[in-house]
Amino acid sequence: MTKAVATRDAYGEALLEVGKKYDNVVVLDADLSKSTKTYDFSKTYPERFFNVGIAEQNLIGISAGLAASGKIPFASTFAMFASGRAFEIIRNSLAYPKLNVKVCATHAGITVGEDGASHQSLEDIACMRAIPNMTVIVPADGVETKAAIHAIAEYHGPVYVRLGRSAVPTINDENSYKFEIGKGVVLKEGKDVTIVATGIMVSKALEAAEALAAEGINAEVVNIHTIKPIDKELIAATAKKTGAIVTAEEHNVVGGLGSAVAEVVVESSPVPMRKVGTMDTFGESGKPEELLTKYNLTAAAIAEAVREVLKQKK
C-alpha cells in the first residue's frame, strides 16, 4: 500500500482531467467547493462552473436542465444533502428522464467525524440504489476514484458517486488499474469465505484477510465499487466457491451493500452471510478513526464476522 489520499481529493484532480477532455463538462456546487474539491475546476474553468449557493434541490434541478441541453454536469455537495434533501429531484428530474448528470457526493459516512450525526450520511447507498436508471459507485481509493470519474464521463446517464472526507490507503496501482462500471474486482483469491467490501472498507477487508490467514482461514476479497448495477455474476460465483460471505460498508446495514449482495445471493447460491456496517443507528461527533472503532467498522470487526459466519457454514 502506498500513500493515503481522500477520494474527494482524487475527485478534484479527476475533474480537471475530464474538464480538459470534454468541453461540455460543467461543474456545479452548493457553497462547498473547497470541501468537495470542485474549487480547482472553478478556478481553471470559471465559465463552466456554477455555484448555486446553499440550495441543493436547485443544484440538481439546474443540472437536469443543463444535461437536457447537452452538457455533462458534475454536481457536488455533501452526501447527506445530495441524497437526502435533493432525493426527489434526483428521482424525478434526473433518473426518470435518464439525464446525463453525475452527482458526486463527498463527506459520506461516519468518517465525516467531528461534524456529527447530522452530517454523516449512512443511508445514501440505500436511497440511491432504490431509484431505477441510477448507477451507484463507491470508490475504494484515489486511484479508483479517478478511473471512475473518467468512466462515468463517458457513460451516458445519471450516476451517484459516493466519496469520503478522510484519507484512505491506496490499494490499486495507478498504472495498471482498469475500472469498468458494474464489474467487481477480486483483490485476493481464497476458498473459505468471501469478504465483499466497498469504499473505505475495502482496505480493511484486505487487512482482515491477512489477519485471518494467520489463523489458517483463506479469505477471498472482492471490491464491489459499483453497487448498482451490481456484479451478480461475480457475487454468485464467489458465494458458490467459498460458501460464506461477509459484507463490509461504511453505511447502515439496512439497504446498502450488504442488502444488495444478499439480494443476489438468495436468488443464486444461498450461503450464510454476515454484514459489517453501522447497525441501524445514527453516528456522533468524534475523530474518524475513533468512530470507526466505536461503530465496529474495522478490520478486526470484519475478521470477527468471518469467524462467526464460518460457524454457520456447512
Partner: protein, 273 residues
C-alpha cells in the same frame, strides 16, 4: 402583423382538445389546463422557434411546463403543432400510451422536461438557459408555473439563482388563476404579492391579463428587450377559462368531465364535433 383571429381559433381548438382528451381519459386536470391555453397558444403558434419535424433541433427555443399537471394543454398544443398525431390525445393516461398523466420527455416528442413534481421544471429551465448562454445561442427558454406552485421552496431557490446568473434569456409565466386543490391560494397559503416578491428577487416583472393574446405577445416582446434580468410574466387568469361552469370552480382542478359535462363544454367552445 400578428393574425389574432387565427390564434384565437387555435386557442379554442386547444380548449376543445383538452375537454375531449380529459373526458376520454376519465381523470386529469381541466381547470389549470384551460387557464393556460392562451399562453401556450401564443408561445407555440406565434413566438417560439421550434421544428416539429426536428424536435431536438439544437437552436430551438424551449418551453418547460413546470406545472406538469396541466399536461393536457401542452399535449394539445404539441399535437396541433404537429409533434405527434392527434389520435394520441385520445389515449392520454391509458396503459401503454405515449401520453403520461404528467409530461415525460423520454417518451413524448416536443416535451422538453419531465415534470409534475412542482418546482422542478422551473429549476431545470434555468439549466437550459445557462446552457444556451454557455453555447452563445440565441435560444430562449420559457416556463410556466402555477400559482399554488409558488409555495414550493425550490421555486424561490430557482428565482434567486435566475437573477443571480442574469438569465435574460429566461421568461417565466405564472398562471395566476387564484385556486389550488384545497381552495383559494390566499386561504390555503397566501402567495401574494407575487409581483413584489419577484421584483425583490431581482426579476423584471410584467403583469397582464393572461387571456388577452395581444397582452401576452406584448409581454414577451418586453421580456426579449430586457437585458441582464430574467422576466416574470404574471398572467392573471381564470381557472377553467372558456367553459362557463368550470370557471373559478375549484372542483374542476382535478376532475375530468363526464359525457354530459363534456358535451356542454364543447357546445360552449363552438359546437359538438
Amino acid at each position: 402583423m400578428v393574425d389574432y383571429k387565427a390564434l384565437q381559433d387555435i386557442a379554442t381548438t386547444i380548449r376543445r382538445d383538452i375537454i375531449e382528451m380529459l373526458h376520454a381519459a376519465g381523470s386529469g386536470h381541466p381547470g389549470g389546463s384551460l387557464s393556460a391555453a392562451d399562453i401556450l397558444t401564443v408561445l407555440y403558434f406565434h413566438e417560439m422557434k421550434i421544428d416539429p419535424q426536428n424536435p431536438k433541433w439544437e437552436d430551438r427555443d424551449r418551453f418547460v411546463l413546470s406545472k406538469g399537471h396541466a399536461a393536457p394543454v401542452l399535449y394539445a398544443a404539441l399535437a396541433e403543432k404537429g409533434f405527434f398525431p392527434k389520435a394520441e390525445l385520445g389515449k392520454l393516461r391509458k396503459v401503454d400510451a405515449m401520453l403520461q398523466g404528467h409530461p415525460d420527455m423520454k417518451g413524448t416528442p416536443g416535451v422538453e422536461m419531465s415534470t409534475g413534481s412542482l418546482g422542478q421544471g422551473f429549476s431545470a429551465s434555468l439549466g437550459m438557459a445557462l446552457a444556451a448562454k454557455l453555447d452563445h445561442k440565441a435560444s430562449r427558454v420559457y416556463t410556466l408555473l402555477g400559482d399554488g406552485e409558488l409555495q414550493e421552496g425550490l421555486v424561490w431557490e430557482a428565482a434567486m439563482a435566475a437573477a443571480h446568473f442574469k438569465l435574460d434569456n429566461l421568461t417565466a409565466f405564472i398562471d395566476l388563476n387564484g385556486l389550488q386543490i384545497d381552495g383559494p391560494n390566499e386561504v390555503v397559503m397566501g402567495v401574494a404579492p407575487v409581483a413584489d416578491k419577484f421584483r425583490a428577487f431581482g426579476w423584471h416583472v410584467v403583469e397582464i391579463d393572461g387571456h388577452k393574446l395581444e397582452e401576452i405577445v406584448a409581454a414577451i416582446e418586453k421580456a426579449k428587450e430586457t437585458k441582464l434580468k430574467p422576466t416574470l410574466i404574471l398572467a392573471h387568469t381564470v381557472k377553467g377559462k372558456g367553459v362557463s361552469f368550470m370557471e373559478n370552480a375549484v372542483g374542476w382542478h382535478g376532475n375530468a368531465p363526464k359525457k354530459e359535462d363534456a358535451d356542454k363544454a364543447l357546445a360552449e367552445l363552438g359546437g359538438a364535433r
